[in-house]
């Protein structure tokens, strides 16, 4: 298959005495949506934060597009990916449109009116209703926050998108619409997506491959059908428990 956009090799991370990852390996290929799942405390979010350079590994390395983030190409690399944080992380002192325009002003040097114009185009792309673009983040519903944050992640036209629990805290209808949005955007913009989730429906609706984290490693990373049939107690419990069966049934 095509080239690897994210390569994680021998990643070990630790907080104090707690080891989160022990020699974790993972690859994300161009154009795919990889879903990362695992029980609470298995280090899904930490893996995402290690990939985007917010957590420094104790050992091992992460390469994005073949380069290290802490290397000389780091700054240029940062403009090639966008991140959607779990709670949106919208800047509370800026309106939604200003939030999306902020990286455009800072990195592309666009003047404010033009940056706002482009920001509105990005918001539209993320399915954000433009009549709410002048609101402040605190006046938004959960689904709108996620869409606004997605628009900001897309602001610099990244090739790679990191999503941390994009559907957490959304009602099923909004969550389903968000899953479809991620797929359409991937198809239209040719994105590669690294998606951390708890949501079984998202795995079925959006992900090309699924990586299961447990005991500090990637147990298996493969298509959903193959992952589901892996012989591991956690995977069996996860995919073949009542919720897993319901999500599978919903897809048929």
């Amino acid at each position: 298959m095509s080239e690897a956009v994210i390569q994680v090799q021998g990643l070990t991370t630790r907080f104090g005495a707690t080891v989160v990852h022990r020699g974790l390996d993972l690859e994300v290929r161009r154009g795919e949506i990889l879903g990362v799942v695992g029980g609470s405390g298995t280090g899904k979010s930490v893996l995402l934060r290690a990939c985007i350079g917010l957590v420094r590994p104790v050992a091992g390395e992460v390469r994005l597009f073949g380069e290290r983030l802490d290397g000389p190409a780091g700054d240029a690399l940062r403009r090639r990916f966008g991140v959607l944080f779990q709670n949106g992380a919208l800047f509370s002192s800026l309106t939604v449109a200003e939030n999306v325009a902020f990286p455009l002003v800072e990195h592309l040097g666009l003047p404010r009116p033009e940056a706002l114009e482009l920001a509105r185009a990005r918001l539209a792309l993320a399915g954000f209703p433009l009549e709410a673009a002048e609101r402040y983040p605190k006046a938004l519903s959960g689904g709108m926050v996620k869409r606004a944050a997605l628009a900001r992640a897309l602001a610099l036209e990244p090739e790679l998108l990191f999503l941390d629990e994009p559907t957490a805290g959304l009602d099923p209808i909004t969550a389903g619409a968000f899953d479809r949005l991620v797929v359409t955007l991937r198809d239209a913009l040719g994105l590669t997506v690294f998606l951390v989730t708890h949501d079984l429906d998202t795995l079925y609706a959006a992900c090309d491959r699924v990586a299961v984290l447990a005991r500090g490693r990637v147990l298996v990373a493969d298509t959903l059908a193959r992952v589901r049939d892996t012989d591991d107690p956690w995977i069996r419990e996860y995919f073949h428990g009542p919720r897993g069966r319901a999500a599978a049934a919903a897809q048929r």
């Binding site: 509370s92 539209a124 399915g127 009549e131 673009a133 913009l189």
Partner: protein
């Protein structure tokens, strides 16, 4: 896509030529030829107007288009109209079509941004009115909260077993014991400054020895209690507001209520009682430290020995001390009340905690100084 025979390009001035050009087909329809990179990085250079009316464009020619991203696509949608772009994109190869159709569809679905509100001539007046009515509402809230806390405090004092001793002692340590070093140090320094001032001015008149009286009167009556109050307003009113505000954000206060517990009794009364107990002690400490600062300067600048200094201080009537200490419970109550009320006023977000904390400090200092000024006037009129 069936390309017809192109004829002469329609005129289009400026650098717009770099990105697009219009050709006429044999049947008279206009073909929009896109060139170059329609990408985010070149957003400012992308054309802002079409050389022909959008409705007359019959086809797109993208053979010379080197790159296209969602920014370029949305500019194209702005030029042609989202629906027109969707129709035109249908004839393009699949990899460009997906992007163009997606952008056109999303722009069509997103609606338009709200029109900016017209400038209102009376806006400053409206703002003034809002501020006034908000201020009055706040004052009413403060008085209401004062009543509520007084009632609960009365109940707590009548039924002492309901007073939460652990919480109260904890607050005493945090607000009192831990404030001792800073209160002592700052009072000492201010005492020294007052003495310097006195020495400088009074020595001119040969009345340098009255510096001791200046320090003694000012610290016993005013500065001891006032300095302690200002420090506690900054240190404790803010921490009360932040603690209760964080609990409010966390829904802990709602949880208390649903458990059948009264948040005022559980959270406010221990804080109020703790401050009522420790604040007079801190004020006393501030007076002593201020006098010590004055004594140090008197020794160095005026060669007044500490024993002589104390002898002069002893001659100051003791009522001045009581005037100062009498204000301590009032200040303590004000600081605790405002800190707690601002904490309860937090709504939802973390930024609200910051706003209310700031407001708590500003209000606490404001009321402390206001009450101090009123008390000074009152005592002067009473001849105390």
């Amino acid at each position: 896509m069936a390309q017809s025979q192109p004829t002469a390009p329609a005129s289009s001035p400026g650098r717009r030529d770099d990105f697009l050009e219009v050709r006429r087909r044999a049947d008279g329809g206009a073909v929009l030829v896109l060139r170059g990179a329609w990408v985010t990085a070149r957003w400012r250079e992308l054309p802002r107007a079409l050389p022909v009316a959008a409705e007359t464009v019959a086809a797109l020619d993208i053979a010379q288009l080197t790159a296209l991203d969602s920014a370029g696509a949305s500019r194209l949608a702005a030029l042609l109209g989202a629906q027109r772009l969707q129709a035109l994109a249908a004839a393009l190869p699949a990899e460009r079509r997906a992007l163009l159709e997606r952008v056109a569809a999303s722009l069509a679905a997103a609606g338009s941004p709200p029109a900016p509100a017209p400038r209102d001539l009376f806006a400053p007046l409206v703002a003034l009115g809002r501020t006034t009515s908000r201020g009055l509402a706040h004052l009413r809230l403060l008085v209401g909260f004062l009543g509520l806390v007084l009632v609960r405090l009365g109940i707590a004092l009548l039924t002492p077993h309901r007073l939460r001793l652990t919480a109260t002692v904890h607050q005493m340590q945090a607000a009192g014991l831990e404030a001792v070093p800073i209160v002592t140090l700052l009072s000492f320094l201010v005492g020294a400054v007052v003495a310097f001032l006195g020495a400088t001015v009074l020595q001119v008149f040969g009345a340098g020895i009255y510096t001791v009286d200046l320090v003694a009167y000012s610290f016993l009556r005013e500065f001891g209690v006032l300095l302690a109050a200002i420090l506690l307003a900054g240190r404790t009113a803010s921490s009360f507001a932040a603690q209760l505000g964080t609990m409010k954000v966390n829904e802990e206060i709602d949880a208390l209520e649903t458990l059948g517990l009264d948040p005022v009794e559980v959270l406010v009364i221990p804080r109020v009682v703790a401050l009522l107990v420790v604040f007079p002690l801190l004020s006393f400490l501030a007076m002593a430290a201020g006098l010590a600062g004055g004594a140090a300067v008197a020794l160095v600048e005026l060669a007044v020995s500490p024993a002589r200094f104390l002898a002069i201080v002893e001659e100051v009537p003791v009522r001045h001390f009581w005037v100062g200490m009498g204000k301590a419970p009032l200040f303590a109550f004000t600081i605790a009340l405002i800190g707690c009320l601002e904490g309860f006023k937090v709504t939802g977000s973390a930024s609200s905690v910051g706003d209310r904390t700031t407001s708590a400090v500003v209000q606490a200092i404001f009321f402390v100084i206001l009450f101090d000024a009123l008390a000074a006037l009152f005592c002067m009129e009473m001849g105390w």
